[in-house]
């Protein structure tokens, strides 16, 4: 096996440069690469284009990078509640490209499957279709959407082994597997880095071939955005 282990987030992201395009896994604050985001904030790299389903909240997730004005452009499906985001967008400091969620996921997946483009009905007849090729198959219209290209994909898994095989936990899986497949360089942070042989080959969600660097993350906060409970 090929050893993909790096010591920490700083080491993993050290060659991420100003102006690059990053994919960041997660849905809301669930399954986001917390350690990588902290390291990016610390490094202060700027002018980033971030492909991520959401933009975090003011003081967590990608919101931390927005606070430091590190993001030039967000490519997302829903940017939620984030006052700093809204301020930067309205002032023109931040560019935003909104993409249907399924299209976003599938354009990542397409890159990992070596498919340059995919067809989806999402957005047909709406402003999302502007400038895009529409094609009819079996009587239904589809948009042709191109695979995403990212310099780095930053994903968070539950467990990973030294060969880069990843296993996700519950709905923290979300965009992580498709982004893990799509990065020119994929960095995985894991809650538990295990030895070869500890993961069942049948349970691996992301085969190590897609992962270039892996590290044992620390101090996971795993913040809950909408704590909703019932009483016993």
């Amino acid at each position: 096996m090929i050893n993909k282990v790096v010591v920490n987030a700083d080491e993993a992201i050290k060659d991420i440069q100003d102006g690059m395009t990053l994919m960041l896994g997660g849905f809301g604050l669930c399954g986001i690469p917390e350690n990588c985001i902290s390291a990016l904030v610390k490094k202060g790299v700027k002018e980033l284009t971030c492909i991520a389903n959401n933009a975090g909240v003011d003081d967590f997730g990608i919101g931390l990078m927005l606070q430091k004005r590190q993001v030039k452009k967000m490519i997302s499906s829903y940017v939620g509640e984030n006052a700093e985001f809204e301020r930067q967008l309205l002032s023109g400091e931040l560019e935003v490209e909104l993409i249907p969620q399924g299209t976003l996921a599938t354009r990542c997946m397409a890159a990992g499957y070596g498919m340059p483009a995919i067809f989806t009905p999402a957005g047909v007849g709406t402003e999302v279709a502007e400038g895009k090729e529409v094609r009819n198959f079996h009587g239904k219209d589809y948009l042709m959407e191109l695979a995403f290209d990212a310099d780095f994909a930053l994903v968070k898994a539950w467990k990973g082994d030294t060969a880069g095989n990843l296993v996700y936990r519950s709905t923290a899986r979300n965009f992580n597997p498709v982004m893990a497949m799509a990065g020119k360089v994929t960095i995985a942070e894991v809650e538990e880095l295990v030895e070869l042989g500890e993961l069942d080959p049948d349970h691996v969600h992301t085969p190590g071939i897609y992962v270039h660097r892996i590290f044992q993350g620390k101090d996971y906060e795993k913040r809950i955005e909408q704590r909703t409970v019932r009483t016993k």
Partner: protein, 219 residues
């Protein structure tokens, strides 16, 4: 006239036994509370869960287990987890039988607008465009008129569209309406105490009224 829970209750009656359903945020989420105990319904959450259970008990929240509204939830015996691409794969390939979502406007040919108001901060379409472009059956849960008192059932949508010719049925606080394939809102039911004339007065799109429009039975 129905309240939000009344709308949710009426929509719950549309859900068939042995079906997979995706519930949008807002009133549609409330529908889950009124699904009859004697039918099997599996809720799909587009962030990657099939078989969504109720909210967790206090203290049992799991940050890794949320629904598409980012609320903490639970799984059920027989649940399955998957990634976002497969989640929308099952939506696009029409394995999800019914989608229930909110709207700002619906046109008489079934177009829906529910994501963007020009000039206002736009948060994004999330999964709505994928859902409305793919689902076999789409029911809209919404108020009949907007805050300015204007009808949300229009000849044509005025807001940027989410999807075209896709809405099959609409349930409002006043009425249940079917969108006809040839265009037009067919009035199927009135809310208790609401007259046909009143529904006419707040429906801007073409309204088709049969000789007898029954009152809703929601309990």
């Amino acid at each position: 006239m129905l309240d939000k829970n009344g709308i949710a209750k009426r929509i719950a009656k549309e859900i068939k036994n042995n079906s997979y359903v995706n519930l949008g945020i807002g009133i549609p989420t409330l529908v889950a509370n009124y699904i009859p105990q004697d039918i099997n319904v599996v809720l799909q959450s587009e962030n990657g869960l099939l078989g969504m259970g109720p909210f967790p008990f206090e203290g049992e929240e799991d940050a890794d287990l949320i629904n598409a509204g980012k609320q903490t939830i639970t799984t059920l015996p027989g649940s399955a987890i998957f990634d976002s691409a497969l989640s929308f794969g099952m939506i696009r390939s029409q394995k999800v039988d019914l989608t229930i979502l909110g709207a700002m406007e619906v046109s008489e040919n079934g177009d829906i607008a529910n994501w963007k108001i020009p000039g206002k901060m736009v948060k994004g379409m999330g999964g709505a465009m994928d859902l409305v472009a793919s689902a076999k059956n789409i029911i809209v849960a919404m108020q009949h008129v907007n805050k300015a008192g204007e009808s949300k059932l229009l000849p044509e949508c005025t807001l940027p569209l989410t999807g075209v010719r896709c809405v099959k049925k609409i349930v409002t606080e006043l009425a249940v309406l079917e969108v006809l394939p040839q265009g037009g809102f067919r009035l199927i039911e009135r809310a208790p105490g609401v007259t046909v004339d009143y529904i006419k007065s707040v429906t801007a799109g073409k309204l088709i009224i049969d000789s007898d429009v029954p009152e809703m039975q929601i309990d």
